[in-house]
């Protein structure tokens, strides 16, 4: 197995009759890594396993080369974590809370550090206010602040842009970008928002049913899925679409405006067969080209295939 930021080997976790992780093996080795998948795919369980919040029934997990079972305290020193729907002490002020977190992480000059981090996440104006008075967006920014305050090597964020408005989302992406490029920090994000992933991640894992169905860089995933998807513009699209379906050449055929978008099986001679079919139908082929899918399309196709 390759050495990665995170290595999971044959991990299984069940909660009663529900299998949250099913014999999952994956190496996550990007700088900014994203886990995407529908609800119940096992993303949050996977993150919880990495932080020792949930124990595996079987299998192994390593974070930054450290074993989750035996070296959890070392992992926690090197990892910053923002869980999904976190609970912060609402009677504390934002600054007071960060000072306490800094002390728990043995940071020198905790007050100074807290003040710096409030500035980074755009909360310096609200540092003296009680957390209970924060809006949900401010609360989420505070979550990001407590995750980055210890200068970790890896930051794990579960739904980091939840409750944020578009500007707040852009700010989260800005922080991720700055910390990964300028400070060499690795990230692992779990999210439903594919825009965040496309914008920031260089490695993506597509999870479903407790497994990583597809993984790799965004380009790899898109190219792999786009390989045999073609957009065909013909003089009589209705007739052509009907006959293409009947021919059984394509795995899927659908309209996209005036064009027909079809996915063909691996190794199928698309150019030869499509042109031949059009000729037989006396339909003129105006344009025939490979489609580059979006991550959203890839996501839908992978899930549909299962």
């Amino acid at each position: 197995m390759n050495r990665g930021v995170i290595e999971i080997e044959k991990a299984t976790k069940r909660f009663g009759k529900i299998t949250a992780l099913s014999d999952l093996s994956v190496v996550i080795d990007g700088k900014v890594n994203g886990l995407i998948g529908p609800n119940g795919a096992g993303k949050t369980t996977l993150l919880n396993v990495l932080l020792g919040l949930t124990r595996l029934d079987s299998g192994k997990a390593r974070v930054l080369g450290l074993d989750v079972n035996g070296e959890l305290s070392e992992i926690k020193k090197k990892v910053g974590f923002l869980p999904e729907s976190p609970g912060f002490p609402t009677s504390f002020t934002g600054e007071g809370f960060l000072i306490k977190v800094a002390r728990l992480r043995h940071i020198q000059e905790p007050r100074k550090r807290a003040s710096e981090i409030l500035n980074v996440v755009g909360l310096s104006h609200a540092g003296k206010r009680a957390i209970r008075t924060y809006s949900s967006g401010m609360y989420q920014r505070l979550g990001l602040a407590q995750a980055i305050i210890g200068d970790p090597e890896l930051i794990v964020l579960d739904e980091p842009a939840a409750n944020l408005d578009p500007i707040g989302r852009m700010d989260v992406l800005r922080v991720i970008d700055e910390y990964s490029k300028n400070r060499g920090v690795s990230f692992l994000l779990s999210t439903h928002i594919l825009y965040e992933v496309e914008k920031s991640c260089d490695w993506v894992g597509l999870m479903e049913g407790g497994r990583v169905r597809e993984s790799g860089s965004i380009d790899e995933l898109i190219q792999k899925s786009s390989k045999q998807v073609f957009r065909i513009v013909v003089s009589d699209p209705k007739l052509f679409e009907l006959r293409l379906k009947q021919s059984g050449f394509a795995e899927s055929v659908e309209f996209d405006g005036d064009a027909v978008v079809a996915e063909f099986p691996e190794g199928f001679d698309v150019y030869g067969e499509v042109v031949a079919l059009a000729k037989r139908l006396s339909v003129r082929v105006i344009d025939l080209r490979r489609v580059r899918l979006s991550l959203d399309d890839v996501f839908r196709r992978v899930l549909k295939a299962d």
Binding site: L51, G52, L53, K77, L82, P86, G87, F92, V101, L104
Partner: protein
């Protein structure tokens, strides 16, 4: 104590005893303390005038306070995902449990000990006949300001608070729910009070009661104290068997529930 433990305890105290919890506990304590059967000059027996009514009157306060404080500290912190946030920092589950438990236990003992002290001061004020001096007979007397007996009451109080704290911690961690754990706790404590109330004073099981048990501990220790000091015989009706039933139930129960609670948190999956 390590710096991290101190930090976690200060975090816990600031969070669990912030407004309005401390204020509420103090207010209820004062109201409960005021309903005391005040000591009459002619009836100055500390056990019948102070100790027995103290336990009957204060049990409600101990139970509700322990339920709220420990229920919030463990049950609510799991429910509202505060525990998940804490466990993301470089602190162990054991460290979190011990700091939460002892911070709240010491705070409860301090608050209730203060109430006990206030009761002692009130007792002194209502007994003008006693000449208070460092070596006066007041130290050894049966009257309401005998300091040793107040000391036994504090010991007993600490034991009850330890037991209720351990019980509530266990229930909060087992159910992972604040409301449900409080409900089970109150049904158990007051159900036990009702049941033991139907038993006679001679039955050891009657001393599983959280009001009768501590009163029995105070009475037995007071009698032993008088005997040891050569001050004469104090007839309390509490035998060694009844005393040890009350003591072992509270002490062993508290320690066992404490250990089980710690193991529960250490093995718990937080999702």
């Amino acid at each position: 104590m390590t710096g991290k433990m101190r930090e976690l305890m200060s975090w816990e105290l600031q969070e669990s005893w912030s407004f309005p919890i401390l204020e509420l506990v103090l207010a209820v304590s004062i109201i409960q303390a005021l309903t005391f059967q005040l000591i009459q000059p002619e009836d100055a027996n500390i056990l019948t005038s102070v100790s027995d009514p103290f336990w009957k009157s204060m049990l409600f306060l101990f139970a509700i306070s322990a339920a709220v404080v420990f229920g919030r500290s463990f049950g609510e912190s799991i429910e509202k995902r505060k525990m998940v946030v804490l466990l993301g920092y470089p602190v162990s589950r054991k460290g979190i449990f011990l700091s939460k438990f002892f911070a709240n236990l010491f705070a409860c003992v301090l608050v209730f000990g203060t109430v006990l002290l206030a009761e002692g001061v009130m007792a002194f004020l209502f007994e003008p006949r006693v000449a208070w001096a460092p070596h006066s007979g007041a130290w050894y007397s049966m009257n309401s300001i005998a300091p040793a007996i107040w000391g036994f009451m504090f010991l007993s109080l600490s034991l009850v608070v330890f037991f209720t704290s351990s019980l509530m911690s266990f229930l909060a961690l087992a159910t992972k729910r604040f409301g449900l754990s409080i409900l089970v706790f109150l049904v158990f404590v007051f159900g036990l009070e009702y049941w033991t109330g139907t038993l006679s004073n001679a039955e050891p099981l009657a001393y599983l009661s959280l009001s009768r048990g501590p009163a029995a501990i105070v009475s037995y220790l007071s009698a032993a104290y008088y005997r040891t000091m050569g001050l004469g015989y104090m007839g309390t009706g509490i035998t060694f068997g009844l005393f040890s039933t009350a003591l072992c139930y509270l002490l062993i129960g508290a320690v066992a529930l404490f250990v089980v609670s710690l193991l529960l948190l250490q093995r718990m999956d937080l999702d």
